[in-house]
Every structure is written in C-alpha cells, then in structure tokens.
C-alpha cells in the first residue's frame, strides 16, 4: 500500500488538516493509501512513498526517496486533489 506522509512543523495541526483532506480525496477516488501526519523533526525516519507538505517547506522535505508534493493553499481540496492524485497515479 502506498504510504503518504503529511508534514508540518509540529506534526498535528497543518499536517493533520492535510491528512483529513487527503483521506476524503482517497475515498472519492477509490485509492487505497495510508496517510500519517508527521513533524519536520522526525519525518526522515518515517518511511513514505509520497510526502505532502506546505510549499514553504519544500527545501526541508527534499532529500529522501519519497516523491514530494507541495501545496500552496492547504485547505484547497481542488489543488490538493490535482497534485496528490497525479503523483499517486504515477506511483501506481
């Protein structure tokens, strides 16, 4: 199963909000994936296939094998859907 890590500074606010939105999208799209929120300090130790993070954390979430998805508007379901689904379909 594809593992998605949603990342923010503390791992329970913005990343949790992203997780909720992504779970809705996965249900809508019929995609099976595991979504876990994680903070910046520990995300590198958590294996993930796809990392979803706020755009301004782009530099901090690079450097792992995971594919990175950066989101500008963290509550815009359309932006999140477009960017995340594109990567998940490619991931297979």
């Amino acid at each position: 199963m594809i593992r998605i890590a949603t990342v923010c500074g503390m791992g329970f606010g913005t990343s949790m909000m992203l997780k909720l939105t992504i779970q809705q999208i996965l249900r809508d799209e019929g995609i099976d994936a595991k979504v876990d929120p994680v903070d910046l300090g520990s995300f590198k130790t958590m294996p993930a296939d796809v990392v979803v993070a706020p755009t301004d954390m782009g530099a901090q979430v690079s450097g792992t094998p995971a594919r990175v998805v950066l989101i500008d508007n963290l509550i815009d379901k359309d932006e999140i859907r477009r960017k995340v689904v594109a990567v998940l379909r490619a991931e297979g």
């Binding site: 923010c8 500074g9 503390m10 791992g11 329970f12 606010g13 913005t14 949790m16 909000m17 909720l20 939105t21 910046l40 706020p54 755009t55 301004d56 954390m57 500008d72 508007n73 963290l74 509550i75 815009d76 379901k77």
Partner: protein, 147 residues
Amino acid sequence: MEPLTEHVAARADAADWRAAVRLAGDLLVSAGLATAEYAGAMEEAREELGPYMVIAPGVAMPHARPERGVLAPGVAVVTLVTPVAFGHAANDPVDVVIAFAAEDKSAHLATLQRIAALVTDPDALSAVRGAHDDGELRAALATRRTA
C-alpha cells in the same frame, strides 16, 4: 465540543504578525485555555518553523505543541482591520487569525475539521471578514456550526 464562537476579537488592530498572534494568544489565556507560555510558543513556532501556518489566502492558524501550556481545548478567532504580512509567499497578507489550543495530538480532529469547514466556505469566511464587532463575528462563526 468547544465551539469556534467563544473567544473572538473583531476588527482588531495589529501592527505586524507578532502582534496579531499575540492578540489571539491573549484571548486563549484570558479564556483560561492556555498559559502565557503557550501564547509565546505560538510566536516561536512562526519564527522557528516558518509561515506555513498561513494555511489559505489571508488566513493564519497559529498554534503550539500541547505540552507548551494548553489548559483546555479551544479556539480563538481574531479579525484585523489592517491585514499583516506573515512572510508567506502565496497567502499573505493575513486578516483572519484562528489560533487553537489542543490537549493532545489527536483529540482535536473535530476542531480542525470545523476550522477547515469555515475556511473553505467562501460565504462564511466573507461574513467573518465583514463582521463589525464581536457579536457579529460570533454570529458569523455560529452559522458554520450547524452546517
């Protein structure tokens, strides 16, 4: 469930992001939801972690870790007369500040869902922005509660 409507300040004046976060922090403290340390930790979070808590155009969601001084879960909402820059490339300037206090990392899902529901509803958000006083702001927030 703690409603979004309890602790508000409509059309407040803040000179910069720090003052805006402090206004929301003061509301949490005076409501007995958080300690002064927690309010300070929300400022530290912006300094140390960056402006990502500006989650959408014009909307910031400052918060800090539960162990920094949360006393009870809750939310404070501040609207600003003059928007302030948080340093966010896409979503500045900010005129709606929604601060939250969470007791642990998973118990606040309903609160986050409610904040997301408010911020994703253009009519509700424009009613929040248009509120002239605290009463109107509470009313604007309350319309979301039943939705």
